[in-house]
């Protein structure tokens, strides 16, 4: 699969791997402490001491950007995992058992999808309050219907296949069929949805932090950093340009990767984002 990738895709993949690496190994890197404030050094433009400059409280922007990758990727992964853990079994059951399970499924999904865009996530954080785990929950709720719908559609079509009939004839109980036969076959579409949803999840997480209802302000998260830098951005644009640019790069690479997976794994699926 690696040899078929164009240069763009290879580049995107390496960027994502790089981001993951600095997210994991961030604390061990020889950069400043992202939380260390030093007002005397506040609002410096990029220099040899501080490659990305400093923010309004004197914190090194480079280390904050690196630390930010942890949080953003954490939110992205967390939300996708929530969607997978809850949405996929739900969708598969609705697709396999049908009838009343499916009816309940349709109602629940309708309700989850009734809220446009970030309104759902906003509603959740309005109730639970700010914080990383609440943020993951809020964004995760948004991914559940997407995964659930795709799993259901796939399960519906796979259910008709001969090997499922054969398994049933052999007395295989439904839960085993779902786990051993149907699930391995839907991994492909799930990976596509997963990468695209991760981009969306990171975006929504950053948006909520930007609006002030996500993580708390000392926590280095790209969206929050953008919000903090807003009052100073006229004279110190680097406060806003740096985190925004990294955010854009992260999302772009994830989108490219998702598109590539979609082209490779199954172009006949019209998998549009819900």
């Amino acid at each position: 699969m690696f040899v078929n990738m164009t240069l763009t895709v290879k580049f995107s993949l390496s960027v994502i791997v790089f981001l993951c690496l600095i997210a994991v190994f961030g604390p061990f890197l020889p950069v400043a402490d992202p939380y260390a404030q030093d007002i005397s050094k506040a609002l410096q433009l990029p220099s040899m001491d501080h490659w990305f400059g400093t923010d309004q409280l004197g914190r090194d922007l480079l280390s904050r950007t690196i630390a930010g990758s942890r949080f953003s990727l954490l939110i992205g992964f967390g939300a996708v995992i929530v969607g997978l853990m809850i949405g996929v079994p739900f969708g598969m059951m609705a697709g396999y058992y049908g009838r009343w399970v499916d009816a309940i499924f349709a109602r629940v999904i309708d309700v989850l999808l009734a809220f446009p865009g970030i309104v759902l996530a906003l509603a959740v954080v309005a109730v639970t309050g700010p914080g990383i785990s609440n943020l993951i929950l809020a964004v995760g709720l948004r991914t559940i219907p997407v995964f659930a719908r795709v799993s259901r559609a796939e399960t519906l079509s796979l259910r008709q296949r001969d090997f499922v009939d054969a398994a049933r004839a052999l007395g295989c109980p439904p839960y085993k069929i779902i786990y051993w036969h149907i699930l391995p076959n839907i991994i492909g579409p799930l990976m596509i949805i997963g990468s695209l949803q991760m981009a969306t999840a990171i975006l929504i997480g950053a948006t909520l932090s930007f609006l002030g209802v996500g993580v708390s302000p000392e926590v280095p998260e790209w969206g929050g950093m953008l919000n903090a830098g807003r009052p100073y951005m006229m004279r110190y644009p680097h406060l806003v340009l740096v985190p925004g640019f990294t955010l854009m790069v992260a999302m772009m690479t994830l989108n490219i990767l998702g598109d590539y997976l979609r082209d490779r794994l199954d172009p006949r699926f019209i998998i549009t984002k819900a």
Binding site: G117, M248, N255
Partner: protein
């Protein structure tokens, strides 16, 4: 025929709305912290707190509160804001025009520009025009709205002051926010128009038209576009619904007095009635837009209706 489809869809809308109101009601009651403190201040005496509680009806059992709420909804009474003591629907009503203005401008821009760019990309697939439009649309899809908004503020508000960056009022105030909010949809519509148009170009009747000597411009506009535009137009309808939520961020950046900003303020102030009312409003607007798109789509494609 269309009428029965419409009625059926409306009918299915009702239980969803009902469950929505229930969820919104419970959601807001789950918030930790007593809202009376937010109104009265932390050092208020217990008597004042009790007074406020009774006045707002928060001391009744939960079921009674919900039935009251539901009854109010049916009449159109969404409660009173904790913050400004105005009726919630008045607050929303005052701010709705600004938001609708922005959303409409956004969808128009993304449609006009998106279709144009899609056409440009499709007539010469693989060229640098195609590649550059594809790149721009990729940027559009992956750029966070708040970032592009801030970039626009920097670029056109500060370095090259052409357009106002705050408030609302006339058309000039709309330019920057509309451009920001339309970016993602624009990218999406461009992609769809391009792929849809490329597919239509492979059809026989296009070949016939070209063989007949129809000038290329007319081939595109008169023959190909009608069929190619079905998918992008339906998507545009759905995007309108998404735009409605996108304006939340835009209004905060460009300081426009719309319902998006109202929601953020309400959340920060824990203004329950406004939060409830706004969530319902957003969901209702979204549902209406989706319903309209479905109706239009079913008018265009009889197969959907007969399903």
């Amino acid at each position: 025929m269309i009428l029965s489809y419409l009625l059926k869809r409306l009918f299915y809308l009702l239980p969803t709305l009902f469950i929505l109101s229930l969820i919104v009601f419970t959601l807001v009651r789950l918030i930790p912290g007593d809202p009376v403190f937010a109104i009265a201040g932390l050092d208020a005496t217990p008597e004042i707190l009790e007074e406020i509680r009774t006045a707002l009806g928060l001391d009744r059992p939960l079921l009674t509160q919900y039935i009251q709420y539901l009854g109010g909804l049916l009449v159109g009474n969404l409660g009173t804001s904790f913050r400004t003591y105005q009726p919630v629907w008045v607050e929303i009503w005052h701010r709705l025009p600004s938001t609708l203005e922005l959303a409409t401008a956004g969808i128009l821009v993304s449609l006009l520009l998106g279709i144009t760019l899609g056409i440009i990309a499709a007539i010469r697939p693989g060229s640098w025009m195609d590649a550059s439009t594809r790149f721009v649309s990729l940027l559009g899809v992956s750029s966070p709205t708040f970032w592009t908004g801030l970039l626009f503020v920097l670029a056109f508000g500060y370095y090259l002051p052409l357009f106002p960056i705050a408030g609302s009022g006339d058309l000039r105030h709309l330019v920057l926010p509309a451009m920001t909010v339309s970016l993602t949809s624009l990218a999406f519509i461009t992609r769809l128009t391009r792929s849809s148009l490329i597919e239509v170009f492979t059809q026989d009747y296009i070949r016939t038209a070209r063989a007949k000597g129809v000038p290329p411009g007319r081939v595109i506009v008169h023959h190909a576009l009608q069929n190619a535009l079905v998918v992008p137009l339906t998507v545009a309808g759905l995007e309108f619904g998404r735009l409605i939520s996108g304006v939340i961020v835009i209004e905060t950046i460009f300081a426009r007095p719309g319902i998006g900003k109202l929601l953020i303020d309400a959340i920060q102030f824990r203004d329950w009635p406004v939060i409830q009312g706004l969530i319902l409003t957003f969901a209702l607007m979204f549902a209406i837009v989706n319903l309209t798109v479905d109706i239009i789509y079913s008018m265009l494609d009889p197969r959907i209706r007969l399903n």
